[in-house]
Every structure is written in C-alpha cells, then in structure tokens.
C-alpha cells in the first residue's frame, strides 16, 4: 500500500508531468481557456492514461521488444478514438470546445512516456497508481492555468455554467490577452517560475 501511494503521489508533485517534466504541453495551453475545458480534458486524459497503463502492464510479458512502441501507439490511439467518439455522442458542447486536441492526446508525451517508462515494467496495480497520480498532477496543472486565464481574461469564474465569483473591476474590462494563446504562455511561464521559487523543482 505504501508503494502504491508513493507511486501515485509521484505523479502529483515530484514528477508533475506539466510543471516538472514539461510534458503534454499542447493540450494544457490550448484548452486552458476555461475551467470546464480543463476538467473535460483531464477526464479524457485520465481515462486514456488509466486504460493504457492497465492494458500495457497486463500485456507486458507478451509485447515483443521490437514492436513495443508501435503497440503502445495503437493501444493509445484506439483509446483516444473511443474517448473522442464518446464525447461527440454524449457531450457535444465539450467535444466542440476541446476540438482536435482530444485526438491529439495520442501524441501526448505523458501517456506514451508512462507506458514506456512505467507500465511496461510494473504490475497492473502499480500502473493504476501511476496513472491516477499523473492524471491528478496534469489536472491540477491545467486547472490552475485555466483558473488564471479565465479569471484574468473574462473577469469572472464560471464552472459548468454556475458563476462562482466575479472580480469587480475586471469583469467590465477583462484583460482578454489571457484568453489568447500568448496568455497561456505567460501564465505557464510565471507559474513555472513560482514553483521553482517555492523550491519544488530544481531541474533545468
């Protein structure tokens, strides 16, 4: 149990995929315009990562070394397509917001990276821990970025169409730059510096 929790916690802080490993940046920046999108993307990544880790780990003794990467890719691509179709069918508005970034999860370095670095070498049970931890880490990062972008860029915070709060001066004249791509870069850059200042990361 100790190892399981340790593996899970690893993905949240020490090896946070977004802030430390700098993986999976494409979706983080692209869909972080609203917290709803962030939650949707996190849920999608969680599903794919969890299923991929489980499948790869379960099959790890049978996967021939030579076709290891293509196998991972096909498994992940299939799972991603399942999520994409499911979203289109059951939650069309979210599917529209996330757009092509859902299928692009297949090249998200986080998932391929975990399959290669962890799931193919560990038990199913531990791989589940890793998947959950990494997803929480990723989710925390993308929600954090979205929080700042949405509040600064539109002056208020709406989650699932429920207005949580509004910043008085900002709501009338939001700094819409934060909703534009460069806003994402700024927020992420500042957050990275912030975490480093807090002593959380020490690399690069």
């Amino acid at each position: 149990m100790g190892t399981w929790l340790k593996n899970m916690a690893n993905g949240i802080v020490r090896a946070n995929p977004t802030f430390i490993l700098l993986l999976g940046l494409c979706p983080t920046l692209a869909v972080s315009t609203s917290i709803d999108n962030a939650f949707g993307m996190t849920a999608s990544v969680l599903f794919v990562l969890l299923a991929a880790n489980v499948i790869v780990s379960a099959l790890r003794r049978w996967i021939p070394n030579r076709v290891r990467i293509p196998t991972f890719i096909v498994v992940i691509a299939t799972l991603v397509t399942i999520v994409d179709l499911a979203l289109k069918a059951f939650v069309p508005p979210l599917s529209k917001s996330l757009g092509m970034y859902v299928p692009l999860i297949v090249v998200n370095c986080i998932i391929l990276g975990r399959a290669e670095a962890f799931a193919s070498k560990n038990t199913v049970w531990q791989s589940i821990a890793d998947a959950i931890g990494m997803s929480i880490g990723f989710g925390a990062a993308i929600v954090l970025v979205s929080f700042f972008r949405q509040v600064l860029g539109s002056g208020s915070l709406d989650v699932f169409n429920v207005r949580l709060f509004s910043v008085p001066g900002l709501a009338d004249n939001p700094a819409s730059i934060f909703l534009l791509p460069m806003g994402a870069f700024f927020v992420l850059g500042v957050l990275l510096a912030f975490f480093r200042w807090m002593g959380v990361s020490d690399c690069e």
């Binding site: 692209a30 299928p103 090249v107 791509p181 870069f185 480093r196």
Partner: protein, 194 residues
Amino acid sequence: MTVSELIAIFFGMALVNNMVLSKFLGLCPFFGVSKKLSSAFSMGIAVVLVMLVASAVTWPLFHYLLVPYGFEFMRTVIFILVIASLVQIIEMTIKRTNMTLYNALGIYLPLITTNCAVLGITFINIDQQYGFLQALVAALGAGAGFTLVLLIMSGIRERLDLADIPRVFRGAPIAFIVAGLLGLAFLAFGGMVG
C-alpha cells in the same frame, strides 16, 4: 484553386495561424531543441519534410480508403501509424544514402513521431476540407511557420543564456514568456490573409 488562394493558405498556416504560437502544436521539441540555432534548423527541415510526406500519404488514404468504406473513425489510429512508419522509413533512407545528412538530422527524426504538429496538420487538412494540393501547401506553410518560430526562439535563447535573468526564471519559465511575447508579435500578421 487559384494561386492566390494557395498563397493565402501558405501564409495563413505559417504566420497567422502559426502552429506553435497560436495552435500550440509542436511544443515538446520546441522547448527541448530550440536552444541552439543549428539544431533548430535541422529540426525544422526534418519537420517540414515529414509534414509534407505525411500529408501526401494520409490525404489519399483518408479520402479514397477510409471514407468510401465508412471507416472515418479509424482516422487517428491509421494516421499516427502512417506517421510513425514514415519517420522510420525516412530515417533509414537518409541513413543509407547520405551519412552527413543523417548525422545532422537523424537524431531528431524519431522525436517527430510524437510531434503534435505533424499529426495536427494531417487532421487540419481533413477538417478544413482541403483538396490534395491545398493540403500539401498547408503542410508546407505549417512546417515553414514551425521552423521560423523555432529559429527565432533559439536565436533569442542563445542570447538569453548570457543575460542576467532571475534564478527562478532561468530556463523553461523565461522561454515560455518569450514565446508569449513572440506570439504577441505574430498577432500583427492578423489582417494579412483577409
């Protein structure tokens, strides 16, 4: 398909809707490779090459094989497999025919398989309902835009390394902020294609 329309697609992809700065595609290699000007250039060339060939292969595959049989949903799986195979083939071909080229480009090629920009452009070609020629031009533009931004970033980063930056910002954080500023500058291309 007029020439001016093709030119519009090219510049639209390269500048107005730049792959990295406005579509957020191709970020992983962007931050990893962009520290030296020469490696940035090699990566850029490799990416353009793969984008072109990938578009040339996936477009007919989608329109003449997947669509007629109702297998559009296999798009993601097939496209990524095609790209992965293409990268392997290109790498082997270069290795056999031109050792110097291989030494310059070779190491970056495998990285391109997971480059969101390559898969991204193949998706865009379909979603925008481009014809074959338009798709090729779009790929060329996207690759050119990617290379351009990569070159600019590495030039800036080479200088940043010598600048006096607060410790917490060194490396990744300042790179992102610079990318943001670059994106801001690229906004100026906004009305270009209108």
